[in-house]
């Protein structure tokens, strides 16, 4: 099939500087809502995901305000329960899972492998509509009275006892699941079939490897959770006994099926972030990534082992002791590939030219917080320790270190890294560094106290709590308001930069990678001529040895342009061998 995504009748001109970008070739609402251009769809996703993030963040703020007092002041228990459910559902299913793949992945994957679009542009658009419909259903369920099950929807509470709009929310998540699957299939096919000539598997940026693994997990795992949630709806509406023991069902079956997806889903959230970190660390250390193949294969290892550890969520349920042992051991093993990545990133900076830009600050923050998040996961993988810590704030702190300190910081790092490419504008660097610093401090102040209060025994999902835990909650809430400022500043300067930001040029970071060889923002067709790749990924070292790049104004495209020119000369004979060129 044709891989190009040119609008009907709207082939962009090829007139050099005046050529319209994907943002400017048309301004009609129809051309945005019916676009099949991966870049425009990425922008649509970016907007919808940001809305979901703000709504989920609002719920988080309500929770944190409420928990400053052990007796609550603002909300009833019922509303409090709906708040944490809303926070979890929106953040997990509608922000974290699609965040990086659907925005940065969607935008960058074709650019990074030298393709004109994803393999199935219409499927890509469909995925955004599915996401939007699912999201609106979940939101309307919340507006029309809310859901109080927690984002995990444990049965039989969700299928029998809850009076909230459980079914509508579940159907919304079910539909949004198909948007993930569509994105996953699209990425797999694109990465297999549409790489530019010379872009071999081991010349791929690690961002692509991470997304490839993520896509495989999405395609294998999401159907399982979709079926599981659909079965809850069936039990709720038709009273078929599946998970409810009173009807002959088994509530532990739900937990197995739910975590079979939802644990790998953690890797769906964190792997793309890891891919971003590899890009940023290499670029701003001006050095090839250390141990490329180890970093690439550690993603695969995480993907494989990630599917074999779901039972570690169930050490204190009725699960057999021996099952628990197997899952515990595997959980320790899955920590190793993450450790490999962390040490390779650190080693990449060794003898590099470290340029502390805003994306680099986010990346360094990611590595630190992810390390803590990963190590505290070992507490929960340890059987006896998990008996104490399971379902306490320790768990809450641990997964927020991975999901917020890891996935979200990586997402923000990536957004800062590719923002000049997406919009063609620079954001104010000083403000961006400030925001990164504030986020880092706010984050630690929010979630470090939760480790302590969790170890003290504070259960999660508690509206009222014993007064002796209050000090830790007050600290945590104070941190949350700092964190909110850290997230608010980028929102303002990103919007500001759209109009007032300095023009970025094709390659403001002097980065190596095909996406930096085309204009910012890129033209509709990405590349006028399909690039031919003759160099390894992250071939920064020539620069490193010759000294640092002095000023980014000198940078745009020079290095890359030369390379591309050279490549074209040498491979003149067979550019048409590339599928996207047809």
């Amino acid at each position: 099939m044709s891989a190009t995504a040119l609008p009907p009748g709207g082939i962009p001109a090829r007139a050099g500087e005046q050529e319209p970008s994907y943002l400017t070739w048309s301004y009609t609402v129809k051309d945005w809502l019916l676009t099949i251009d991966h870049k425009r769809i990425a922008v649509l996703y970016l907007i919808s995901i940001s809305v979901m993030f703000l709504l989920g963040g609002f719920a988080a703020m309500m929770i944190r305000i409420e928990l400053t007092s052990p007796h609550g002041q603002l909300l009833t228990s019922e509303v409090y329960n709906k708040m944490f459910t809303m926070h979890g559902v929106l953040m997990v299913f509608f922000f974290l899972v699609p965040s990086i793949p659907a925005t940065l992945g969607n935008f960058c994957i074709p650019l990074m492998i030298g393709a004109k679009d994803l393999a199935f542009p219409r499927l890509n658009l469909l995925s955004w509509y599915l996401y939007t419909i699912g999201g609106l259903m979940a939101l309307s369920a919340m507006i029309m009275g809310g859901v109080d099950t927690g984002w995990t929807f444990y049965t039989p509470y969700s299928s029998v006892y809850s009076n909230g709009n459980v079914s509508l929310t579940l159907i919304g998540i079910f539909i949004a699941g198909f948007s993930s699957i569509a994105t996953g299939i699209n990425f797999i096919v694109t990465i297999h079939k549409m790489r530019a000539p010379g872009m071999t598997w081991f010349r791929l940026p690690l961002f692509i490897w991470a997304h490839y693994t993520t896509s495989v997990i999405i395609v294998l795992g999401t159907p399982v959770v979709a079926i599981t949630l659909a079965l809850v709806v069936v039990e709720r509406l038709l009273h078929l006994g599946i998970f409810n023991p009173a009807l002959g069902g088994d509530p532990i079956l739900f937990q197995h099926m739910f975590w079979f997806y939802s644990h790998p889903a953690v890797y769906i959230m964190i792997l793309p972030s890891m891919g971003i970190i590899s890009e940023i660390i290499a670029c701003f250390s001006r050095k090839r990534i250390f141990g490329y193949s180890f970093v690439a294969f550690s993603s695969i290892a995480i993907g494989v082992f990630g599917f074999l550890v779901w039972g570690h969520h169930m050490f204190v349920t009725g699960q057999s002791m021996y099952t628990g042992m197997v899952f515990s051991a595997l959980s320790f093993i899955v920590a190793v590939p993450s450790a490999i990545k962390v040490f390779n990133w650190a080693a990449t900076m060794y003898k590099g030219q470290v340029w502390l830009t805003a994306p680099m600050l986010y990346a360094l923050g990611f590595i630190g917080l992810f390390t803590v998040g990963g190590l505290t996961g070992l507490y929960l993988a340890s059987l006896a320790m998990d008996v104490h810590l399971n379902m306490t704030y320790f768990v809450v702190a641990h997964f927020h270190f991975v999901m917020v300190g890891g996935a979200t910081l990586g997402y923000l790092g990536g957004l800062h890294f590719w923002w000049p490419k997406i919009t063609g504008r620079m954001y104010p660097e000083g403000w961006a560094k400030l925001a990164a610093g504030i986020s880092f401090i706010g984050f630690n102040l929010t979630f470090l106290p939760q480790f302590v209060v969790g170890y003290l025994g504070m259960p999660r999902r508690y509206h009222y709590y014993p007064a002796e835990y209050q000090i830790w909650h007050v600290l945590s809430s104070a941190g949350a308001s700092v964190l909110a400022i850290g997230y608010g500043i980028p929102l303002i300067y990103f919007l500001w930069s759209l109009k007032y930001g300095e023009k970025a040029g094709p390659n403001p970071w002097g980065a190596i990678g095909l996406e930096w060889q085309t204009a910012s923002p890129p033209p509709m067709e990405n590349f006028h001529e399909i690039p031919v790749v003759t160099w390894e990924a992250y071939a920064y070292d020539d620069e490193t040895e010759h000294g640092a790049q002095e000023d980014r104004k000198d940078m745009p495209g020079t290095e890359a342009a030369v390379r591309q020119e050279a490549a074209r000369d040498t491979e003149e004979g067979h550019p048409q061998g590339h599928p996207a060129a047809e």
Partner: protein, 385 residues
């Protein structure tokens, strides 16, 4: 506001968990500090344009890759092994542990000691004595959690879970529900009172503090009454009949099912056999059963438990029947059947199985109290279930 940092330690298990915590915390701090130090050091030393030696940059090094893969792997597996042992201990309580039956329901904990004392949202235990909690839920999933003991186990509907502990330090400790169970989830809980053995004996004598009446029926006594009022004894006599097997001495014995599968007649099995007899047919009693299924609305979890305790009292595989009362007042329902001299089921080797003994042994079980109203055995005990 006080500033607690570690929870109190009040059980043998809590010491083991905190030791594990110390090791894990050390590892976490060491590794995090190592990573942070590397990042900061490289970021400063190799900052853009700094005049330092950058010759011969490396891009891969197998030895280093293996080092930072294998060391974490080994450390991880050591921690794994250390954490397994205490886990198997608390989820496999010793045989001599005293049983406490726990029911979770929205939004309270109901606890029943083996001597019949019942408590709501409170648990009194002595130090230095192993206990085994048998936990079930009457509605949705709950989580039974005592932070000072570091123990937790989910209360599942329709199946029993167990956890053991031995308290070490007298005091008053939190009892929480940790599995989200609805609107008042955060208010489901109470206190655990750990007492010295002497105080505990005193407390027992009073029949438990806060109990409105001092007459305490044991679970076994209530089970026996239920056994009569539900007319279980019409079919389940002291010996097997065509219709139904005898329940004497079956507890924790292997039973052959209609499907040919051999199952152990433990708490779980008996629970299911009462709730869903049609799914638990024994071999040799036909393809159908005339026994009604006792669902939630007919028997509470507490009543099912009482029945199981009674069945257990009819003799267990390991040996002596559990006899707590010694003064028979009225003939026990099972014992009144014409049982004398009849050989029990062939595989029964407990003392009770000896011809002539069942009636005597079972008669020991008959209760001492006379005030119980058979129609509502659980309603007159001060329990607010």
């Amino acid at each position: 506001m006080n500033f607690p940092f570690l929870p109190e330690r009040a059980s043998t298990f809590s010491d083991q968990v905190d030791f594990l915590g110390l090791i894990l915390t050390t590892l976490t701090i060491l590794f995090s500090a190592l990573v942070a130090a590397l990042l900061l050091f490289f970021a400063v030393r190799y900052r853009r344009g700094s005049k330092v030696d950058r010759s011969k940059p490396q891009h891969h090094n197998l030895v280093m890759e293996l080092t930072w893969s294998i060391i974490p792997l080994i450390l991880g597996l050591v921690v794994f092994a250390m954490a397994v042992i205490p886990y198997t201990q608390i989820y496999n309580p010793p045989k001599n542990a005293e049983e406490i039956f726990v029911i979770g329901k929205q939004w309270m904990w109901h606890l029943e000691h083996s001597n019949g004392i019942r408590e709501n949202n409170e648990l009194h235990v002595p130090t230095g004595k192993p206990f085994k909690l048998t936990i079930i839920s009457q509605d949705t999933i709950h989580g039974f959690y005592i932070p000072a003991f570091r123990i937790k186990r989910d209360a599942m509907p329709g199946r029993y879970t167990t956890v053991g502990f031995e308290a070490t330090r007298p005091g008053k400790y939190h009892l929480f529900c940790t599995e989200y169970c609805g609107t008042n989830h955060s208010e489901m809980g109470g206190w655990v009172y750990v007492m010295t053995p002497a105080d505990y004996t005193e407390w027992l004598k009073k029949g438990g503090q806060g109990m409105p009446d001092r007459k305490v029926e044991t679970a076994e006594e209530q089970g026996r009454e239920l056994f009569t009022t539900l007319a279980c004894s019409n079919c389940h006599g002291s010996q097997d009949t065509v219709r139904a097997p005898s329940l004497v001495g079956i507890y924790e014995r292997p039973r052959k099912m209609l499907s040919g599968k051999i199952v152990n007649a433990d708490d779980e099995y008996l629970h299911n056999a009462i709730r869903k007899p049609e799914d638990n047919l024994l071999d040799g009693y036909g393809q159908v059963t005339t026994m009604p299924a006792y669902k939630d609305d007919q028997l509470t979890e507490e009543q099912v438990h009482n029945l199981i305790v009674y069945i257990k009292s009819l003799g267990r595989a390991s040996g002596t029947p559990v006899a707590t009362k010694t003064v028979p007042r009225s003939p026990a329902p099972v014992a009144t059947r014409p049982a004398g001299g009849t050989p029990p089921p062939a595989n029964n080797t407990t003392p009770m199985a000896t011809p002539g003994q069942p009636s005597a042994a079972v008669e020991l079980k008959s209760g001492t109290q006379t005030t119980a109203t058979p129609s509502a055995p659980t309603r007159n005990t001060g329990s607010k279930l």
